[in-house]
């Protein structure tokens, strides 16, 4: 056997099982789902020939009763809630990551673990925690009633507020970890130099800290915003009907409402939006980071 041939067999032996697994059980099913978006529905809501763009028309809001903006609102709400949660996560993660990076070296792994451990519990369990805290009659809900935020005898969930809290809680570690990695490599001399030149704290951050931690920030933004946009569990459990996102809209079409092509069209939009988001964030990272390679 020639060396090249043996090499190829070896390559096949190592790479093929994993590649096949992803091709057969992820790529093929998603292509199948994408294709379904271009079919019409039969009487039971399952996909059927002929090909049509009916699903996309329905997704855009055209139904039996004319046009309704419901689905469009859901899409906009998904984008808005993702943006809000990501900004809040950034605001919390920056000081947290900085604090960990200035602690003694032997404590840092423990502090990092303290941030990460809650995210190892199941998504559903984390939401159960907030449902407990936000239930009617708990101290937090009573406080909210006193402040006039909620009606008497009501809890803080289901609400958009609870969804945002849930999103921040879920994805905070994904921002802290890459930011911490960036802070660990921070060149403190630059920060000192800026301080010596009497730069205001904001200017120090803007010109000395931000450029150096930008790769971590961009990586964290991808890790937070992409899954937050596709969130299903938190919105379903903490949001009720008032904060549904596109993931819930898609899921409904495969359960109660049963309209597979409509759900598939929604899933296609989700994938396109995700890829577009990734592309924009990469471009943004390159532009802001100058010629520095921004790793995502």
């Amino acid at each position: 056997m020639t060396r090249l041939r043996r090499d190829s067999l070896h390559l096949l032996g190592t790479v093929a099982p994993g590649a096949l697994c992803i091709l057969v059980f992820l790529v093929a099913p998603s292509i199948y789902l994408m294709g379904m978006a271009f079919l019409s529905t039969d009487a039971t809501g399952l996909p059927a020939l002929p090909l049509s763009v009916q699903a996309f028309r329905e997704l855009a809001g055209f139904g039996f009763l004319g046009w309704s903006p419901g689905n469009l609102y859901t899409l906009l709400r998904s984008l808005w809630q993702t943006l809000l949660a990501t900004v809040l996560v950034i605001l919390i993660a920056y000081p947290a990551a900085y604090y960990i990076s200035i602690r003694p070296a032997r404590w840092r792994p423990v502090l990092l673990l303290a941030v990460v451990v809650p995210s190892w519990t199941n998504q559903v369990i984390r939401s159960v925690g907030w449902m407990n805290l936000f239930a009617p009659g708990t101290p937090i809900s009573d406080l909210a009633v006193l402040l006039g935020i909620t009606e008497p005898r009501m809890g803080l969930f289901p609400s958009q507020f609870a969804v945002i809290v849930g999103l921040v809680y879920n994805f905070l570690p994904f921002m802290v970890l890459p930011l911490y990695a960036a802070f660990e490599r921070l060149d403190h001399a630059q920060v000192e130099a800026a301080r010596d030149l009497f730069a205001s704290p904001l200017a120090v951050f803007r010109h000395a800290v931000l450029p150096q931690t930008l790769p971590g920030l961009m990586a964290g933004t991808v890790l937070v915003a992409i899954p937050a946009f596709g969130m299903y569990v938190v919105t379903e459990l903490l949001g009720g009907g008032k904060a549904t996102m596109i993931g819930n809209l898609v899921a409904q079409q495969f359960a109660a409402a049963s309209n597979w092509p409509l759900g598939a069209a929604g899933a296609l939009i989700m994938i396109l939006a995700t890829l577009l988001g990734l592309w924009v964030l990469r471009r943004l990272g390159r532009r802001l980071g100058g010629d520095r390679e921004v790793v995502i």
């Binding site: 992803i22 998603s30 299903y232 898609v250 598939a264 899933a267």
Partner: protein, 269 residues
């Protein structure tokens, strides 16, 4: 003397810890509540745990969760490690498509992933009568999203190694299996253990993909909790959640100890 900034950060950190742990503490606390309420703690009781362990549905859900996590992890670590190694060994061949393929499950939204698999499995069953939804399809789905993470971990570890080590192994006429037994496996052992832990937590943490690929007889704990809380939060739900939170803390402790040991080990060398 601490700077004001540092003192402010310390307060911030304490508040952050309250935010991160309050939901978990409340769940654990109210699982021991003697009355069915998540607003008022009336007294300590183990009643809900007793109910839990006499409920056959919950016990089988517990067994399913464990079985799913262990089976998918074992398969995914083997397939993923091979993939990571192949990716490293043949890095000169510029397999960009392969990198894309590996990142695909990572960036795909859970819900789209789960629904794709669900429609795929349902259609396969209808057309060919194979892969009916159940524990088997759940294992397949879990392996598919675990493999990329394992492959990336192993690949990263191999990239961090000195390439000359591979040449040395070859120069000493190590046979392929000897290279595997005496060089690759020992050198990769920490990365393999890390992969096992990561794959286990990924599997236990997942709800969405399990939910959409499960069959009627393959309910796992998260799926059970999901359907239970649709009827309202009860101390029984909190008791199940407490068991799951407890297991996560055990894993966290193990990973901390492993890390400590590998650090001191390196120190001794």
């Amino acid at each position: 003397m601490k700077s004001p900034l540092e003192r402010a950060l310390r307060v911030f950190w304490l508040l952050l810890m309250v935010f991160l742990y309050a939901p978990l503490v409340v769940v654990v606390l109210f699982s021991f509540n003697s009355i069915n309420s998540s607003a008022r703690f009336a007294g300590f009781s183990l009643e809900w745990y007793q109910r839990l362990f006499s409920n056959d549905v919950i016990l089988s859900a517990l067994a399913n969760t464990a079985l799913l996590a262990v089976m998918s992890t074992l398969i995914a670590v083997v397939i993923g490690a091979l993939l990571g190694y192949g990716l490293y060994r043949y890095r000169a061949r510029r397999m960009a498509w392969l990198i894309w393929l590996i990142y695909l499950p990572v960036i795909m939204p859970d819900i789209v992933f789960g629904i794709s698999e669900m429609t795929f499995f349902i259609t396969l069953e209808r057309l060919f009568g194979v892969l009916s939804p159940g524990l088997g399809t759940m294992v397949i789905a879990h392996v598919t999203f675990q493999v990329p993470f394992v492959a990336l971990l192993i690949h990263a570890r191999l990239l961090a190694l000195d390439p000359q080590l591979f040449e040395a192994a070859q120069d000493l006429y190590a046979r392929p299996w000897q290279r595997l037994r005496f060089f690759l496996v020992p050198v990769l052992w920490p990365a393999i253990m890390a992969s096992v832990l990561l794959a286990l937590t990924l599997s236990i943490d997942d709800f969405v993909i399990s939910f959409f690929t499960a069959g009627p007889d393959s309910t796992t704990l998260p799926i059970y909790v999901w359907s239970a809380i649709k009827k309202g939060i009860t101390p029984e739900v909190n008791a199940i959640a407490t068991l799951m939170i407890g297991s996560v803390f055990v894993v966290a402790l193990i990973s901390l100890l492993l890390r400590r040991r590998s650090l001191t080990g390196r120190h001794l060398q």
